[in-house]
Amino acid sequence: MLSDKLKQIKQGELSAEENIKYFLDKIKKENPKINAVLHVNEDAIKQAKEIDKKIKQKKAGKLAGLGFIVKSNINVKGLICNCASKTLENYKAAYSATVINKLLSEDAIILAMANMDEFACGGSGENSAFGVTKNPKCLDRIPGGSSSGSAASVAADFCDFALGSDTGGSIRNPASHCGLVGFKPTYGSVSRYGLIDMSMSLDQIGPLTRSVKDCELIFNTIKGKDEKDAVTRNFKENKDSKKILIGIPKIGAKAEIWDLILNRVDEVCKKQGWKKSDIKLEHIDLGIQTYYPIVYVEVFSGTRKFDGRKYGLPIEDSCGEEVLRRILGGKEISKAEHAGKYYRRALKAKDIIKKEFEDAFKKFDVIIMPTVPRTPHKFKEQISLEDMYNYDTLTVLANLAEIPAISVPCGNVKEGNDNIPIGLQIFAACGNDNFLLDVAKKFE
């Protein structure tokens, strides 16, 4: 628990320098096997020494001495922020994202920039231009993505916590596969200023941690209105976690996964005196079909700046297959929009899904389902494009509905010699992020 470590640091039992040195040594020793980290912050030890001075003077911030790893699409001034792409291979960030400034102002220390699926396009961790990231919990299986390096870094004990971005499940999906807590906050509750966007109407920055309490600590530090991101606002919470009605939708997922989820729900309901009931969400099966046309268009639009003039290389000449697929697909839609056949239709479906969740939360306090409907595949396994997209079928719903969602570990499924972690996903109504975190604590 980070609160215990912070206490140790505050009481002088552990210095920031010792903490940072431990992680840097571990990264040096074990990263060649996992490939979770792309670039280490060479100044981390120096910065830790400065924080130690502040701690002694009792002037340190609330995260003093903790070390964190950042997904390589979040700008950190002076560090390489290449989105795991050849397009931006040597791009050095000229400024820091708001979330970074908030964490640094509380004296957390940046350890490294993480590997990821290129430009956040992917759900497996296989799409990086700098090699796949391995899953520290099952080395021959994918860690999930696109925040693959962030998740693997926390799971491999390379850091105290990590930051990722979640457009359709990119925090929750790898959290589920790596046995971690991954949180996608409400759209607009955390600033995206300084995030290299994948799909601006869906992107959200969030934490990956080992416990919900750690997640809460980081979320409460990075949340809040930011004048540099026009969609941000301070949300007022209107729920408490005393009497809870849980909605369980009927959704296709591997039977062993559903068993784990339902058993955990039963246990918690019994212990907390909460109730559960089936919930019908009519358009829930259209998540993927709604999500991808929107993403394709926004990827095409958002990548027009990568023309090789201001920085890097022209994207169409230097990116990988999945990024190119989204660019070309988005280009096709943007050309004539085919009388609203793709994008407008998808926006309509997004509105319908959002409304369905709004109505559902009038009756239910939270909705629970698996984070990912299947177990992660092995690296050499051939998998179709549609199957790959379907990894996100249950996570995209929260992005489309703009609501907060969290994945918490809820057990393991045995496949051959592998003991694969499974995530339980909880949704709450828009803006009720801290309520959701309170509920999630009971499921750990």
């Binding site: 259209l286 201001k310 297959e321 697909g329 096709e332 479906a349």
Partner: protein
């Protein structure tokens, strides 16, 4: 990636988009088109002082540019020039 690969990727993208668009056909019936717009009383924005950028920002930005001449990023000349 070769041009042949690019064509293959483009075809794949089109195929999957068509499949998704077909699956979303039903929503056409479920939801009416409702274009929304905002009508403002004031049309002119008051220009403020603006913000000065952080020290060294321009230098850091220019360091990433493939080619620059003092404060200017050099882009390629169009074939019409």
């Amino acid at each position: 990636m070769t041009n042949v690969d690019k064509i293959k990727v483009e075809k794949q993208a089109k195929e999957i988009l068509d499949k998704f668009a077909k699956a979303l056909q039903t929503v056409e019936k479920d939801k009416e088109d409702n274009e929304s717009y905002v009508e403002r009383e004031e049309f002119e924005r008051v220009e403020k002082q603006g913000k000065t950028s952080e020290e060294g920002f321009k230098e850091r930005i220019l360091k990433n540019a493939p080619a620059h001449d003092d404060d200017f990023i050099i882009a390629e000349k169009g074939s019409w020039k």
